[in-house]
Symmetry: C2
Subunit: 548 residues, 2 copies
């Protein structure tokens, strides 16, 4: 039996367009001799459709497209379809896999484990199904599962999240194929975990595994595809493209013999982060209907990395760099920004903010001249934000915010100033990793597209004379580990201090994180590459007491 797997990139909510894509992959699969074509979780709506699921009309249209456009394909001798879709039953909504065969919905499998942590809110929309059945795929009794359903093995995980494991009941029914329809977003280390967990399941249940994952950037989330096929011995026999669509064929017979061609181990490194950010940027820009982006170029490393990523994701002709020097900008900053723009081949403009800054100071300081306080630092950043948004609004550029995760975590940034933008490309990248990105981009391009001086100089916001980041913050190689322990590991100050960090530094960092929650609340959506991104997956109170 020949199964085709469609690793597709749907647009959230674009039901008709997504159905057309499904049909296109179906035709290619049929032409390739497939007996069954499998699609990812919630393929027609895209994942995650979020509150669109609260519109009955949305669910109606999704179902109408399935019955009107997809079912007819399977009439006569067309291959069957197994596709992720929503399913209503007894006034409840389920996250389902539908099997379409010979013009009918032959069977329905409903998801049991509903992720409701980090960025996931599935309990908000769906009902858990506790009753799972094995599906005959050809002669193979198969466990048809949806994403999270397979992520609760009590032998693999030391602390399983859920009380139930649908695989236990499905394999008690003697399934010999595990089929998983996923929409599982990328984060650093995720693919390694998949490639450790899946062969474990294959061996534990003596089952072959077909793991099919969505691809594409959807707001903050970047789905990496990287679908996987294991034989029943737990050998990886195929790994699909990362960050790209692919149609994969597999013969079921190959799933039950020793592998002749085992795939190489995965790489999950800074190069993968770059690919994730490229796809995330490209998809956010194009799926919101934009073609081109604009960003401020300061001569510093953050904006340089974002510009380089944008140029690669969208083509240099679609990137505009805006240099906005002030009286406090160093001479080398403008120079480095110009070199970068030339290296990337992007359009650039220089707009000096000196005049508007002086007018504001005249207006607000009653003739006293600059006071060099934080308000004036913010003012400069906000004037730059105004200019960026003006060009964006007038000329149709999507503005990119260039802040990194370290500064966003401690609030070392200006709300409505440098935080301005429709997408924050490196908002989940700690500063120390921004350096890795810069170096790796230069390695990939085999030359210093990001100028050496941009990488080597001490980071500075250049909002007052001689300012350096390290006047206000601990060095990034100390700040970043503290932030990871506090934000990702959820340790307390005393637990972090016990790991050997300086007490006053830890207290200061935590205070900065706690007190800048209001800035993050109004931040642009940021591409997620870790499990502790600062966007939809972080839900902290703003008005709160601080104790510890």
């Amino acid at each position: 039996m020949r199964i085709a797997l469609a690793q597709i990139n749907p647009v959230i909510g674009a039901l008709t367009r997504n159905t057309e894509k499904v049909k296109e992959y179906y035709r290619r699969a049929a032409a390739g001799g497939a007996d069954l074509v499998v699609f990812t979780e919630l393929s027609i709506s895209g994942y995650p459709p979020k509150d669109l699921l609260f519109y009955e009309s949305f669910l109606d249209r999704e179902r109408a497209l399935i019955t009107g456009k997809l079912l007819p394909l399977t009439l006569e001798s067309g291959p069957g379809i197994l596709i992720g879709a929503s399913h209503r039953l007894d006034n409840k909504l389920y996250n389902a896999a539908l099997r379409l065969e010979k013009g009918e919905i032959k069977s329905v499998h409903l998801k049991t484990l509903l992720p409701n942590f980090d960025v996931f809110d599935e309990e908000r929309y769906f009902t858990r199904c506790m009753d799972r059945e094995v599906e005959m795929i050809g002669t193979l009794p198969s466990a048809v599962t949806i994403c999270e359903d397979i992520w609760n093995d009590s032998d693999f995980f030391s602390a399983p999240v859920y009380d139930t494991d649908p695989l236990e009941s499905l394999f008690a029914l003697e399934a010999s194929l595990l089929l998983n329809l996923s929409a599982s977003p990328y984060h650093l280390g995720k693919q390694k975990l998949r490639e450790k967990m899946l062969p474990f399941l294959a061996r534990k249940y003596n089952t072959a595994i077909i793991y099919l994952n969505q691809v594409g950037g959807n707001d903050e989330l970047i789905f990496d595809g990287s679908s996987l096929i294991y034989n029943q011995y737990g050998d990886l026999i195929y790994r699909a493209a990362a960050f790209d669509e692919e149609l994969i064929f597999v013969e079921t017979e190959d799933l039950y013999r020793p592998a002749t061609d085992v795939a190489a181990p995965t790489r999950d490194d800074i190069g993968t982060v770059i690919n994730a950010l490229l796809l995330g940027t490209k998809d956010y820009v194009t799926k919101t209907g934009f073609k081109k982006v604009a960003l401020g170029l300061s001569g510093g490393i953050d904006s340089a990395v974002v510009a380089a990523l944008a140029a690669e994701a969208l083509g240099p002709q679609n990137v505009l760099g805006i240099m906005m020097p002030s009286p406090y900008s160093s001479g080398h900053s403008l120079e480095d920004a110009l070199t970068l723009a030339d290296n990337l081949g992007i359009e650039h403009r220089t707009i000096n903010i000196d005049k508007p800054f002086r007018v504001f100071i005249d207006l607000l300081n009653e003739g006293q001249g600059p006071l060099l306080d934080v308000a004036e630092e913010n003012l400069q950043a906000r004037i730059r934000g105004n200019i960026l948004m003006h060009i964006s609004n007038r000329e149709g550029y999507l503005a990119l915010a260039t802040g990194n995760k370290s500064e966003l975590s401690v609030g070392y940034s200006t709300l409505y100033g440098d935080m301005t933008g429709g997408l924050a490309v490196i908002a989940d990248v700690p500063k120390t990793m921004v350096y890795e990105l810069a170096n790796h981009l230069n390695v990939i391009h085999n030359r210093a597209i990001i100028p050496e001086r941009t990488i080597s100089k001490a980071p500075s916001a250049e909002l007052r004379p001689g300012q350096k980041d390290q006047d206000s913050l601990p060095p990034y190689h100390i700040l970043d580990p503290i932030l990871e322990l506090y934000i990702e590991e959820k340790l307390s100050s005393s637990e972090i201090i016990a790991k050997g960090f300086h007490k006053e530094t830890v207290k200061k960092v935590i205070r900065m994180v706690d007190q800048s929650e209001f800035k993050r609340r109004q931040a642009a959506p940021g591409l997620r590459i870790t499990t502790s991104s600062l966007g939809a997956g972080r839900r902290m109170p703003l008005a709160r007491g601080y104790e510890e």
Copy 2:
């Protein structure tokens, strides 16, 4: 038996301070002869503590305060305590009610129904408990429940949300008192619903009911208190203060005889909305550590209403109104704003934005003068935002955003411009209701504190010559019902059109709502007074396809 109910206003996360408040209420209750003192859901952490619950250290400190500070109070002859708190058991976290008696945690009741809709995310933090026991309170077998636990009656609700109803099992155990520890936020119509549902339960189960609710503003949510006591015949025998703390005493004997003094029916009207916004504003400002607020005064009705609310919530001496006229401001606007400031007795400043606007135009239009496009409208709003934030940053004012729900829904506002601020006071108030607020404020004050002309003139953003809101938007008496049907009722365009609205108008409004999601994503937190607020309770994709 004498029960004391502590309707308190905790600060989220301020564990020590909240414990001190609990002790203070306990002492007063003991002095008043109470045998048992009841506190609200999650009293020590405040509700909702959100992701603070992911910190083990936070849960540890909460529990240490309970065992170290509260348990000792109950030693010897001190009254018992029934208090909402988190509870860890077998590596799981529960939302619990703890009974403290004679220095020990005598019993623990764990919440069954975990709200996970709108602004609520309890499945993110807590495990459902399916096993409920009756608690003996004096001689009364009692159903000790937590908030949502009582909101799933299948006879009362046509479509109960959950598959289980803990009241059924608790009353099968012959409970005769229903005790509910709540943290239930206000929205328009909520109190009416409570006062309909609770007597229904009293009569259905032949039980007395003590319903104790948290009070206070916590970010977007405004908890209204309004705790209720019913006798077993379903007569309301006491309604506690709305939007204020209170310590209530009740004799259990009074719960089982016909009421001599039935409380009057609730009022749930525009006056209640005003009280909600006053508390929400006051608590957000003070709980974030501010004393004073600043806002732009345009002479229009939105900023006038927000200024009036702020002056009442914080005292006029703590409110700064900033007039920022431009060349496009009408003469009457500055005049009306000044009259308002005088009426309210608030401080005010006038800063003309003409000069910075001209400098930006020179810089960005290359000598062409104003082009009067949307970019320049936004630019004016952003210059005002800069000034407001500059004063806020330098002088320590919390900036208030003044946008209403109608304009926020359709995106008739400038990101980083008039959307600037730490709190959006009327972000959940539709424009038609803003007029009601204005009129009611004038009635309450028995004079036109909000100038008549501010109320009667056609609304305008005054960002280009002769501009009126109604050039871009349908009249608000048509817009607001369409918005309610689309955003709150979740109807499709065709369903809304079928209700008699003009087709093109509906399509246009829906398009505007859909395409302005990115603005709302970066909006200031807005006080919630409906079940369809545009903040944490709305989770829409940004990059999406639009079809219908």
